[in-house]
């Protein structure tokens, strides 16, 4: 009732400023078209500039295939690890009281606030041959920097916050009464988690995993520092796009870019679906 009233009031006050509304919409739309849609279209056009066959052969190059495999491998390792970490962190923060909790919340956000290049450099400083722990790794013949482990570590660091960030507010809002009820009914901790907690957080968890995955596959800055750009060995898909572009192999560069762009579009669609699903569930829960 009050919402309906405020809506009509809003409309009448804004009606006389019709031109403001339309110019704002035009600016916003124009901006999106100019900076999002046109580049996306260009990526597609460039990728297919020399025909569909050239596009397919660019994608089937061994270097491109290796880059795709490495990207998938990185995501396959980092996403599950960060999912486990995210759930554990969200659980610790929303279910326990302990000293240093606020510090932990701030630290989880650290990868968001640090430039990815710096994150990459941190790992070079730690694990590089001249780094703090470099000697030990050298002695044991383990290569971290300019190798796959470094790429995985950098990606892990960068995609750290996504799952925890999605879960913390939701779990805070839900409270722990349902979980306590399960325990009081004789359930073990694990059963409580799988039967009660997980079903309640599943959509938010999937949402976090999706964002985490998108970033893990698309990360450039930090990975670029630790990878060393060795073709077929340490080039992820984003790095391969850059290398190809620098070598004027534009079909290859844009073919790779089109895969990443496609990933972004799929992510967007799934994200919208998950958001809708979450909203729906919360709407029925508050009935």
């Amino acid at each position: 009732m009050s919402a309906a009233i405020s809506r009509t009031v809003h409309q009448s006050t804004l009606d006389d400023a019709n031109w403001v509304r339309w110019s704002l919409i035009t600016i916003a739309l124009g901006f999106i078209i100019l900076f999002l849609c046109v580049p996306l279209a260009l990526v597609i056009i460039q990728a297919f500039a020399k025909g569909f066959d050239a596009y397919l052969s660019a994608l089937s190059q061994p270097d491109m295939q290796a880059a795709m495999r490495l990207t998938l491998l990185t995501a396959l390792i980092t996403v599950p690890l960060n999912t486990v970490f995210g759930v554990a962190a969200a659980w610790a923060i929303t279910r326990f009281e302990f000293r240093g909790k606020n510090l932990l919340i701030t630290l989880i956000d650290l990868p968001f606030s640090v430039s990815p290049v710096i994150s990459g450099l941190i790992f070079v400083l730690l694990f590089g041959t001249q780094g703090w722990m470099g000697e030990w790794f050298l002695e044991h013949d383990i290569k971290v920097i300019f190798a796959v482990p470094g790429i995985v570590l950098a990606t892990l660091f960068i995609t750290f916050p996504f799952v925890a960030r999605q879960l913390i507010p939701l779990m805070q809002e839900m409270g722990s009464e349902e979980e306590e009820a399960a325990l009081s009914l004789g359930s073990s901790g694990w059963r409580m988690f799988f039967l009660i907690t997980l079903p309640n957080i599943k959509w938010a968890l999937l949402y976090g995993v999706l964002l985490c995955n998108a970033r893990a596959m698309g990360e450039f800055g930090a990975v670029s520092v630790v990878s060393g750009h060795i073709r077929s060995l340490t080039n992820t898909l984003p790095l391969h796009v850059e290398v190809s572009y620098n070598e004027y192999d534009s079909v290859s560069a844009f073919a790779g870019a089109s895969i990443l762009a496609g990933l972004a579009v799929v992510t967007l669609i799934l994200k919208t679906f998950l958001e809708w699903k979450q909203k729906n569930e919360r709407a029925t829960a508050s009935l």
Binding site: E177, E178, S184, L185, S187, L195, P199, A285, S286
Partner: protein, 347 residues
């Protein structure tokens, strides 16, 4: 199952929530933990359940030390204030949960579980809702499902946190009656937390009054009402008028029929229930005037003002049956005489 708590203390940081609580609850009682908000009653309930750990002291259930037992091993049923029904499960699955998570060795078969679940749902008169989800139920229905779910594991102790707190007044009245009847039927030792003294008096067989983390008094509702142990209990249980001796003349106490015993000192306070005050119309010069009155159904609540020697005035409340008040034919501003039938002195 009997419950014995000895020496229970609990601190949250600097805040002392419970202080050396000793409490014995015999088997089969329906006990109310009563107190103002923040008195520690919910914390005490959660400690008995094992949802909160006590800093020191012991919890004995049926003579067995359960202090270190995990909540899932204590054999208690807990009903949460906001019901805490599993929102993604149907009513049936909610009630069956406790039986389904049992160890394989002791878990009943699915058909037994179904039979028992339906029996419990019938007990709370809601079997027709078995395939609904919690968000499709009313508050009173959710409360009864929460109770059925807690009973499904055949707890030896039933603990209820503010069981009627979130319900409409009319639903609350019905559910109180229903809970008492259910307790008669099942006879499982039960403790419920409430801040509503009327609710405690109406439902419980024993009332434990808590204040600031300590037990002020334990007894039957009648005991607590008729023989309050101290000023806090007297004020918290039902309405009371306070007369501080130093504010009145001893003559006045004589006049209204209140005898002053030897223990009474300058700081003593007399607590008088409104229904223990009798009023009569008078033409004498008395310091008491009728200010106003309100209808409370069968009773009339009468607001009087008494002028004090200090020049200030004090509000005094009296209650009497409707009929009796009509016979007095009083109107606002009339002078009245007071007679006090009974008072509790606190020193």
């Amino acid at each position: 199952m009997s419950i014995v708590l000895s020496n229970i203390s609990k601190n949250f940081g600097d805040f002392s929530a419970l202080h050396d609580i000793d409490l014995e609850i015999p088997e089969g009682e329906l006990v109310a933990l009563l107190g103002p908000s923040g008195c520690g009653k919910t914390t005490l309930l959660r400690i008995i359940a094992g949802l909160e750990q006590t800093d020191k002291g012991q919890i004995l259930l049926n003579g067995e030390d359960k202090t270190q037992h995990h909540v899932s091993q204590r054999g208690i049923g807990f009903v949460f204030q906001h019901y805490a029904l599993f929102r993604h499960m149907t009513v049936f699955d909610n009630v069956a949960f406790g039986m389904r998570v049992k160890d394989k060795k002791v878990r009943p078969s699915e058909s037994e579980i179904a039979k028992k679940t339906h029996a419990l749902l019938e007990l709370v008169q809601l079997d027709w809702l078995h395939n609904r989800f919690p968000d499709q139920l009313s508050g009173g229905q959710r409360q009864r499902i929460a109770l059925a779910r807690a009973l499904a594991v055949e707890p030896s102790v039933l603990l209820l946190d503010e069981p009627f707190g979130a319900l409409d007044a009319s639903v609350r009245k019905d559910l109180r009656q229903w809970l008492r009847n259910l307790h008669h039927e099942l006879n499982v030792t039960s403790i419920f937390v409430t801040h509503d003294q009327e609710e405690a008096m109406e439902v419980a067989s024993q009332v434990v009054v808590l204040n600031k983390g300590r037990i002020e008094q334990q007894g039957s509702p009648a005991d607590i009402y008729d023989y309050p142990a101290n000023a806090f209990v007297s004020k918290f249980i039902g309405q009371t008028n306070e007369f501080q001796l130093s504010h009145f003349s001893t003559d006045w106490f004589d006049k209204v029929g209140l005898s002053i015993s030897k223990e009474v000192t300058k700081d003593s306070i007399a607590h008088v229930r409104p229904h223990d005050i009798e009023i009569t119309k008078t033409t004498n010069d008395t310091p008491v005037t009728l200010k106003d009155w309100q209808h409370l159904g069968a009773l009339i609540r009468i607001e009087l003002t008494k002028n004090l020697p200090s020049g200030k005035s004090k509000a005094v409340f009296a209650e009497m049956p409707n009929e009796q008040f009509k016979r007095l034919q009083l109107s606002r501003g009339d002078k009245v005489d007071l007679k006090i039938r009974h008072a509790h002195w606190f020193h």
